[in-house]
Symmetry: D2
Subunit: 387 residues, 4 copies
C-alpha cells in the first residue's frame, strides 16, 4: 500500500486499521511541520476525535470505541511542542472476538458498496478482511487527529473551519451565515445548525433506518477568515489540493465550491463576483466562486460541499460473489451499521481542509519570505496608495 501521507510541508502520515491484530492494535498519525512553542491541549484533539466517534446516537453504528488519544512524541517535558513531529496513537478497544467472527463469516464475499473486491485484487487473501482494514471508516481516526493539529495552528491565525450537514433524507438546510452556522454547530446528532431542518432530517433518516436502509447527504464546510493568496496557480491550486483531500474520504462522491454545479447554467455576468473596497481592502459582493480566483484564495470564505453516499451496509439481502470460489452468492442483511454518516463525517472533512490550508500557508510564506529579499520587488509588491 502506498499513499499514506498527505501534504508537502505540513504533512500527516497515518497507519492503522479497523481491527488489525486485535489486542494491542491501534491507529497512529505522525504530524510533520508543527511549529515549536505551542501548547496544544490533548483535550483539543480529543474533542475532534469525539465528533467522529461512533456509538453516540441512534444514527450511528453501535460499535463502542473510546478513541482515547495519547501523545508520545514531539513535545518537551513541559508539554510544549518542540518543533519535532508529533506522534499520536489511538489504541483499538472494541476488538472482541464476537465481531471478528461476524466478519469472518463473509470474509470471502463481495459486500456491495464496500472495497473488499478491490482489496482482494491488490492484496490477495492476505489482505485485511476484518472490518474492512484501511478501507474502513475507522481509518479516518488518524486524519482527524492530524487535522486537529492543523486546526489548532490555524485558529491562532484566526482561521476557523466548520462543517455541517446541508442536506439529507430529502431535507435541505436554509442558507446561513458563518455566525449562524457557528452558533448551532453540533447542537444535534445530525449536526445541522438549521434546527428546524435538523429535526426533519433526523426523522427522515430514522424512517429509512427502520426500513433496514441507509441515507446519504450533502455536507458543507466553510473556512472563515482565510488570507487571500493561498494556493499555487497551476497543478497545486488550493481548491485542487482540498479536492484531493476531500475526495480521499471513502464516502465522498462529489465536490463543489461556491455555487458549484449551478455555475453550468449561469451566465458569465451572473457568475462573476464583483470586487469592491471595504476599508481599503478588496472584497467581493458575492461568493459564487466559493473563495477562489484561479485556484488561489481571494479572502472570502472557502465554501465547499461534498456529496456523501449512503452507508453501504444495509439490512437487506443483496447479491454477492464469493471471491475465492468465484461463485454468485447472497449476502445476508447486516444489522450493525450507521443509518447515515453525515453526522460523523464532518470532522474528517474539516481535518482534510485544515491540513490543505495550513500546508498552503506554509508554502505561501516560504515563497513570500524569499521573494521579499529583493528590495525592489518589495517596493512594488506593496499596493501603492493613490496620491
Amino acid at each position: 500500500m502506498l499513499g499514506n501521507t498527505f501534504g508537502r510541508i505540513f504533512r500527516i502520515t497515518t497507519c492503522g486499521e479497523s481491527y488489525g491484530i486485535g489486542k494491542g492494535s491501534g491507529l497512529s498519525v505522525i504530524v510533520d511541520g508543527v511549529p515549536p512553542g505551542l501548547n496544544i491541549p490533548l483535550e483539543y484533539i480529543q474533542n475532534d476525535l469525539d465528533k467522529r466517534r461512533p456509538g453516540q446516537s441512534p444514527l450511528d453504528s453501535p460499535r463502542k470505541e473510546t478513541d482515547q488519544v495519547a501523545l508520545f512524541a514531539g513535545v518537551a517535558q513541559d508539554g510544549v511542542t518542540t518543533g519535532a513531529p508529533l506522534g499520536l496513537i489511538i489504541y483499538n478497544v472494541d476488538t472482541q472476538d464476537i465481531h471478528i467472527d461476524q466478519y469472518r463469516d463473509y470474509k470471502d464475499l463481495v459486500r456491495p458498496g464496500h472495497a473488499e473486491y478491490c482489496f482482494f485484487l491488490k492484496y490477495g487473501e492476505a489482505g485485511d478482511w476484518c472490518g474492512a482494514g484501511r478501507a474502513s471508516g475507522r481509518e479516518t481516526v488518524g486524519r482527524v487527529a492530524g487535522g486537529s493539529v492543523a486546526k489548532f495552528i490555524l485558529e491562532r491565525e484566526g482561521i476557523e473551519i466548520l462543517g455541517y450537514t446541508k442536506e439529507s433524507a430529502g431535507v435541505t438546510a436554509k442558507e446561513m451565515s458563518f455566525e449562524e452556522i457557528k452558533k448551532n454547530y453540533r447542537k444535534n446528532d445530525i449536526n445541522c445548525p438549521d434546527l428546524e431542518a435538523a429535526k426533519k432530517m433526523r426523522e427522515g433518516i430514522l424512517k429509512i433506518k427502520d426500513m433496514g436502509d441507509t441515507a446519504g447527504g450533502v455536507v458543507e464546510i466553510v473556512a472563515h477568515n482565510i488570507p487571500a493568496g493561498l494556493g499555487e496557480p497551476v497543478f497545486d491550486k488550493l481548491n485542487a489540493t482540498i479536492a484531493h483531500g476531500l475526495m480521499s474520504i471513502g464516502a465522498v462522491k462529489g465536490i463543489e465550491f461556491g455555487v458549484g454545479f449551478r455555475c453550468g447554467s449561469m451566465k458569465g455576468s451572473e457568475f462573476n463576483d464583483h470586487p469592491y473596497l471595504d476599508q481599503g481592502k478588496v472584497r467581493f459582493k458575492t461568493n459564487n466562486a466559493g473563495g477562489f480566483l484561479g485556484g488561489i484564495s481571494n479572502g472570502e470564505d472557502i465554501v465547499v460541499r461534498i456529496a456523501v453516499k449512503p452507508t453501504p451496509t444495509v439490512s437487506v439481502e443483496q447479491p454477492s460473489i464469493n471471491m475465492v470460489t468465484m461463485t454468485e452468492e447472497k449476502l445476508s442483511p447486516i444489522t450493525r451499521r450507521d443509518a447515515t454518516i453525515c453526522g460523523r463525517i464532518y470532522p474528517v472533512a474539516e481535518a482534510m481542509i485544515a491540513a490543505a490550508i495550513l500546508d498552503a500557508l506554509y508554502l505561501a510564506r516560504a515563497y513570500d519570505a524569499l521573494a521579499k529579499l529583493d528590495d525592489k520587488w518589495m517596493k512594488l509588491k506593496a499596493p501603492k496608495k493613490s496620491s
Copy 2:
C-alpha cells in the same frame, strides 16, 4: 511559483504563459516516465492540441495560435522513444503588440472572475499582467501535450478516454453508451455527441454570446476498459488524484463521479452497485459509483463530470478596482472572448485523467511486481476456481 509538476511516476512538468516575453516565448512540457520503444507520432499529440486550439469556431475566442508542437528530447535517431523524458515545446505565435497593448490598458484592474488580484498579491507588479500569465487558459497547452503522451500509452493497453459536453445553455444531452459517445465524438464545435442536443446547445450559446455574455456547462469524461485495482486506499485514491487534476483546471468548480451529488438523496440499497459474474469476471449491474470502490477502480468505466464556469470575460461593463491606486473603477466591456469553453476544455480534462490513470497504473504494477516475489502470496492472490 510552485506546483508546476503533476504525478509521481508518470509526471508532467510545464512552463510557459499566454504571451510571455513576446517573440521567442513558448510553452513547454517535460514528460517523465515514458517507456522506451514507442513510436509516438507527433500528429497524435498535435491532434489533441488541435482540440483545444482557439479560433476555430464562432464559440471560441478569435485568438490565432497554430499551437504547433515540436519534440526536442527523449527520442532516438529513428524517432522512437528511448525511455528518457520527452521534451515538447510549442512556441507562441500570436504575440502582436496590438493585443498586448489591450492588456496593458487594464493591467492594474481587477477583472471579475479572473485571477489577477490573487497574482498581484503573490507576485506584485512584477507578476505577469499580460494575458493572465500562468492563470491563462493558454497554460493548458502543456497539460494537453503531456496528457496526450499518457493517452497514447494507455491506448496500447486498450484504455480509451473521451470527454464531451453533457450540459450547456440549459440543454442536457441524453444518456449514451461509451460506443455512442465515441461514434459522435467531435462531430460539432460544442462536442456534444447527442447531435440533437448539440444543435440546441449551440443555438443557446450563440444567443447568450449575442447578449455580450458567456455560458458555462457540464462536461462528462468517460474512461473505458480500465483494469480493476488502480489507486491507493487512503490519501491517494485514484478518484482523489483525478479530482486533484481536474480541479486544477482553471474553470472547474465541481467534480462528481457516477451519480455524484444525486447520491445524497439515495438510499444505500439503491446506490450500491451489485456484483455479478460475467464470463468468470466480476462486473457490476449498475455504475452509480462511477467506476470506484474505496477509491480503487473496480473495472467499470470511470465516469466523472466537471462543472465548467462561464468564461469570465464578458462584453458588459463591470465594477473593478485599480490594484495600484486602490480605487474603485469600471472595467469596460471586452470583445475578444470565448462564448463558452465547454467545446475546448474536454481535451484538458482528458489529459489530466489520462495522466492520473497512467501514474496509478505504474504504481499498481510497482507494487504488484514486488508483492509477487513471494510465492506463497502469489498462490493466494490468484482467485481460486470453484471445484
Copy 3:
C-alpha cells in the same frame, strides 16, 4: 521540523526523540510499501534494534534502554502483513529524572560537536534541550526498525546487506570477501570481522576512552547479490539516494563507493572495471566502481564506506557559549558517553541502504512492468543470443 520521511514508494516516516515528555514517550515508524502475505517475525526487527542498543559493552554509553519493539498496525489476526503500512512503536524506558536533570544543567550551553546551537536557531527555547531531541542518536531507532523491514523483504530476493568497522583508532581491517565478512559479522563489540584487527581496534579505543576522549572510524557496508539495473539515470541515481540516506545519519562526514577518493589519483585505464561473460551473464573483473555504472547497479556488490566522526561528548573541559545570555562559558567534562559509535552505527547504515535499495527495486519494477507492455520492445529487450 520537516523531512521525517525517507523514500518514494517504500517509505519510512519516523518520530520520537531521546527523552520527549518522559514517561509515555516513545519512538515510532510508519512503514509504507510493504507487500501483503509476509510473516515478518518481530524478533527479526528486534535483532536489528539490538545491534544499535547502547549499554552492551564498555565501548558504549551506559544508557539503559530495552528498545522493545511492538507492532500495532499492518498485520492481520494471523500476524501476516496485509499490505497496509506497518506501525511500529518503541517506548522510552530510561527516562529517569536524574539524567534529565543533567541535561537541564547545560541546556542553554552550546556543546561542541552537538547540534543544539542550530536547533536553538530553528526552534528557539521551545526546542528540545533534553538529550538532543531529534538530533540524538536515539532518533535512529525508527530508521533501524523501518530499514529492518526493508532488509527482510530484500532477503527474500536473496539480497544481503552487511556493515562492519573497517577502520578505527588507527587500525585498518584487511580486505575480505563478502563470505569472510559474513562469517565473522558481529563477533565482537567493535563489529570488525578481521578478528586480529578487531582486537587492536578495541585496545586503541579503550585507551582513547581512558584519556576521556572518543574515537571515530570508517564503516564499510556491502550489499550482496544486487540485481543490475536499479536506480534512475539522472538525479535519482541509486548511489545518490544511498548517499542521501547515509549522509542523513548524524555522525557521517564522508561517503565513498568502490575505491572512492582513491579514484582521484588513478588513470582511466586502471579505474575502468572490465566486463567478461560468466555463464552467459555480464560480470566485471574488478569492482573499483563499487557496484555502479552511471549510478545504476551493475550486478556487482555495492560497496560503500562512511566516515564516522568521533562522538562529540568528551570528558574534557571545552569552550562553550550560553545561548540565552550570549556569554562565553566552559562546558564541564561529561562522563556518560560512547567511546565510539562505530560498533553501533552499522545497523543504521544497513537500514538506510536497505530502504534505498528496496525503493529503487519498486521503481525499477514499476517501470519495467509498463515498458514490457509493448511487445515489440519486449522482444528487443531480451538480449539476443548469438547464433
Copy 4:
C-alpha cells in the same frame, strides 16, 4: 526513466540528451520556485554554461557545442521574472552524422566505465546508444542552467559558491582562504587557484593524455556566507541533500565535508569545533565539520570535496561484450575524449549545491514564517542579550 527533478520548493526538471534526434534536438530545464521581480541577465547563465562547455582547452573533448541558452518562459515583456517557472532551452549544434556514425559502430558494445550496459538492461535496444543519452556528461547542461538561477538568487543574499580543482595527477593544491580561491578562480583551464599547483597538474594531465589515458581528481566546493539554520534535522539534513545532488553527477565516487574521511582517525576533542563569540555572533574556531552541526548549517563556510573518477573513454584497447550477441569482443581505442573533466565539472557541482541550499532556504523561511506567528515563541526565539 524517472527522477528528472531535483528539489522540493526550488526545483529543476531537466530533459535532453547528447545527440537525441539529431537536428532540432536540445536540452531544457524548467525552474520552479523563482521569485518575481528579478532581472536575471541571460549572460549570467551563459557564463556558467561556458564554464562546462567542452572544446576550449587541450584538456577537453574537442566536441564543438556553442551551448547558447534561450529563455522562453517565466519573464514578462520587460525581461523581468514574473514568478512563473523559467523555461530555458539549449539546442544541440554538433550533431553531424560523422560522430553519430562513430557511436553506431560500437552501439552494442559495453564500453568499460560507461553506463550503456545498465541502460540496455533498463531500456533495451530502444535505449539511446548515441553519445550515451542521458548518461552523457552533456545531460549536465540542464543542471548548470537551472543551478545558475539558484546561484543568482543566492548572490543577492550575499551567498557565494566556488568550486575548484583541489587535486589531480598526483598534485594537491595548498590550503587557501575563500578570498584566495576567489582571486584566482578560473585563471587556468584546470581551474586550480593555486597557480603553482595548477601548472604541475596541467603538465601531469597532459602527460597522461599523451599515454592515451585520462586523469581523475578531487574538486572542492566552498559555499560562503551561509546563514546558520538551514537543513532539516532528520532525513533531509542539508549535507544529505547536497550529497544527493553531488552524487547524482555521473563521475563522482565520493563526497566528504570538512575534514571528511580524516575524522575517522581523529579524537573527539580534536574534531569538535569550538564556539566563540565574534561581535555578538556565534562562530567556530575551526571548521572540521565543514559548516554543519547535526546536518544544519552552522554559519561557517560549507566545504565539500568530491572524488572525480578519470574519464572512462581511453585510447587503449579494452575488453568488451557485445550485448546483442552476448559475445566477448574488444573495444578499440577512442580518440575523441576529455583528458580529465576536473576543469569542467565544478560548475555542475556548484549548480547542485546552489539548488540544494536555495531549496533549504525556502523551507527554513516557510517554517520560520509560520513558527513566528506565535508571539510567545517569537520572544523566546530571539537570543536574549546578557544584561
